[in-house]
């Protein structure tokens, strides 16, 4: 996604405005973070993403975001894995360091997206990846009842690893209970620097003025630089999607298989495509691209980049696109072709429907002026 403004939502949670689907347009109706939030303090609308007081700092919204738009301060996976030959272990922030000094610590085990898990699994290699379940999650305020918060991501990854025939390195959930009394009530805010000085009065008010929480649309990224916020060009693949596909690629190469078609969404054209290209502007990842040359205009779709957000299907003025979440091709494929003609009035290349001689814009002008004249001079003619 394009690098946009990083907005501070509060409690160490930041949002990359340009990557957030519902902030980009009405076409992106994603509410993944809102649904994932165990404290129900995140709310999403086109006006902005607002964080009410009460954020637990668990980072489960971060893992739910399909475009990696959210980031939580202090939640970074280490560049180097812990030393040793045993399995690489993951612990949540609540587990005291004395219980497992070697583990990688994350705010909540549910904060790991399938892409991050896949990446860690690949890095751990033959050592294997173990998520340590301390038996607390059922009572933790960031948990989700009887289901372990990491289960959804683990299941997704297991599904793909099974499908490509490399099930040997699947990350495991290992039960190693600790007494429930040892669990702290809140997730320790290890993300804050313990040496940090308390804010001065001046800094406090300056921060308030700079980051009006939950009012992201007031920030104008254009201003002096004269750049549109989310221009139609320069779309990039979601980092989360990239991580998952790269890690599964490596696993598939080891197993000597190819990635299954189920991993790639499929967009098809029901024949109504009229080369408006609204979908290509709506697509946040650049999976849909319009190309035009001497051979004609084409709409290309690459399943590798697609995150199946459905923006294109909602954007199409003709209702021509159909999205299926699975069963597509990885490489770019042409889903619509249009022979091109030069408009007799303006000289633009356009895709005619039938034997039209004028492009849609000029045809509309002509139609308008004809209607206007018959309306204005109806009595005379």
């Amino acid at each position: 996604m394009e690098t946009g403004t990083l907005l501070t939502l509060g409690d160490g949670l930041r949002l990359e405005e340009g990557a957030c689907l519902p902030l980009r347009s009405h076409f992106g109706q994603c509410r993944a973070c809102e649904k994932a939030c165990p404290a129900h303090v995140l709310s999403v609308s086109i006006d902005g993403v607002a964080l009410a007081p009460g954020c637990l700092g668990c980072g489960r919204c971060v893992s739910a975001c399909p475009t990696d738009a959210l980031e939580l301060e202090g939640f970074e996976l280490p560049a180097a894995l812990p030393a040793g030959a045993g399995a690489v272990e993951l612990e949540c922030f609540k587990v005291p360091a004395s219980a497992n000094a070697e583990a990688i610590r994350v705010p909540c085990l549910g904060a790991l997206s399938p892409g991050r898990l896949a990446e860690l699994t690949e890095r751990a290699g033959a050592r294997g990846l173990v998520l340590v379940d301390r038996g607390w999650c059922g009572t933790c305020s960031a948990g989700c009842g009887a289901t372990h918060p990491a289960k959804a991501a683990l299941d997704v990854l297991a599904l793909w690893l099974d499908a490509i025939g490399a099930p040997d390195r699947k990350p495991r959930l290992q039960s190693r209970p600790l007494p429930a009394a040892a669990m702290p009530e809140a997730i320790p805010h290890t993300r804050r620097d313990p040496n940090e000085q308390p804010l001065s009065r001046r800094d406090f008010f300056r921060r308030l003025a700079e980051n009006p929480t939950g009012r992201p649309r007031d920030v104008s990224p254009m201003g002096a630089s004269g750049r549109a916020a989310f221009p139609a060009t320069g779309r990039h693949q979601s980092r989360e999607r990239r991580r998952l596909v790269d890690a599964l690629d490596a696993a598939a190469a080891r197993a000597g298989t190819a990635l299954p078609a189920e991993l790639f969404p499929r967009v098809t054209n029901n024949g109504a495509c009229a080369d408006h290209r609204v979908c290509t502007a709506a697509c946040p990842t650049g999976a849909l691209k319009a190309r035009a040359d001497a051979q004609g205009a084409r709409l290309e779709f690459a399943g590798e980049a697609c995150i199946a957000c459905g923006a294109c299907t909602r954007a199409c003025p003709e209702g021509a696109l159909v999205l299926e979440a699975h069963g597509g091709a990885r490489a770019p494929a042409v889903i619509a072709t249009h022979a091109q003609r030069t408009c007799e009035a303006c000289g633009d290349a356009f895709a005619p429907r039938g034997d039209e001689a004028l492009c849609a814009t000029c045809a509309k002008s002509q139609r308008f002026i004809r209607d206007a004249m018959s309306q204005l001079y109806r009595a005379r003619s």
């Binding site: 221009p231 002008s365 204005l376």
Partner: protein, 251 residues
């Protein structure tokens, strides 16, 4: 609060395109990329031919289809004066509004220079703007679609928002012959040599535009779309009254 509207008298229009040129200069448009144009319409065959001029600015509808179509709320109906404007900070250039507009007054002009050779090569734009014109007005307000447009956005007539929005409160008419309101008059209205254009507050019963609409039966075009344009056309008394569906006085 005002509801700015324009009246165009087609009987006075001579098709001189002074409005088009004035608009292009005022709004730093690339050559040929006109937010407002004078279209022509011919009828009959030689020697019985009639040709009619038809100036077409943005209609600044009361119920604009483009605003409903815009996925990013970049296009909006401004509350103070009833302008339909584009926030270039939010526009993603998807062109959904261009498909929706029944009047065809929205432009996306990145792809091909309208006039060759491409002048953008001579005056290349800075900071993502489409070009750096040798003459440019001082106004620059991307959140209202005013100034030199950036690349990758849709643009349209603003009713000269940067001028009209500064008009004194409560004024009924913006007239180029009145020294008090001259500077607040839209460029096309101010420049029109035969004075075929009038600009004023449609909410003010005393305004010249309201009188003209009433006396000369001003017509809103394509009224069946329900868009309710704030631009009215006059045409020699032969036009239908408002609303256009009312079948009175057929001459």
């Amino acid at each position: 609060m005002a509801k700015w509207g324009m009246v165009i008298d087609l009987d006075k229009c001579t098709g001189c395109q002074a409005c088009t040129t004035a608009c292009a200069m005022e709004n730093s448009r690339l050559p040929g990329e006109n937010w407002q144009d004078v279209l022509f319409y011919s009828e009959g065959r030689f020697p019985n031919v009639s040709i009619k001029w038809f100036p077409r600015p943005c209609m600044h509808c009361e119920h604009p289809s483009c605003v409903s179509a815009c996925p990013t709320r970049a296009t909006y109906k401004e509350a103070e004066g009833g302008f339909v404007l584009i926030d270039w900070n939010k526009c993603i250039g998807c062109k959904a509004c261009m498909v929706a507009c029944p009047y065809g007054v929205r432009f996306y002009t990145d792809e091909r220079p309208v006039v060759a050779p491409d002048i953008r090569g001579v005056f290349p734009g800075k900071d993502g703007r489409s070009w750096s014109p040798p003459y440019r007005g001082p106004q620059d307000d991307p959140s209202h679609g005013v100034g030199i447009q950036p690349n990758g956005v849709v643009s349209k007539c603003t009713f000269c928002y940067h001028k009209v929005s500064k008009a004194p409160k409560g004024v009924a008419d913006l007239d180029e012959h009145d020294p008090a309101t001259k500077e607040f008059t839209p460029a096309c209205v101010r420049m029109c040599p035969p004075k075929a254009r009038y600009f004023g507050d449609l909410d003010n019963p005393a305004s010249t535009v309201n009188k003209l609409i009433a006396d000369k039966r001003g017509t809103r075009l394509l009224d069946h779309t329900g868009n309710k344009p704030q631009v009215y056309y006059l045409s020699g008394g032969a036009a239908a009254a408002v609303p256009s569906s009312r079948e009175t006085n057929k001459a």
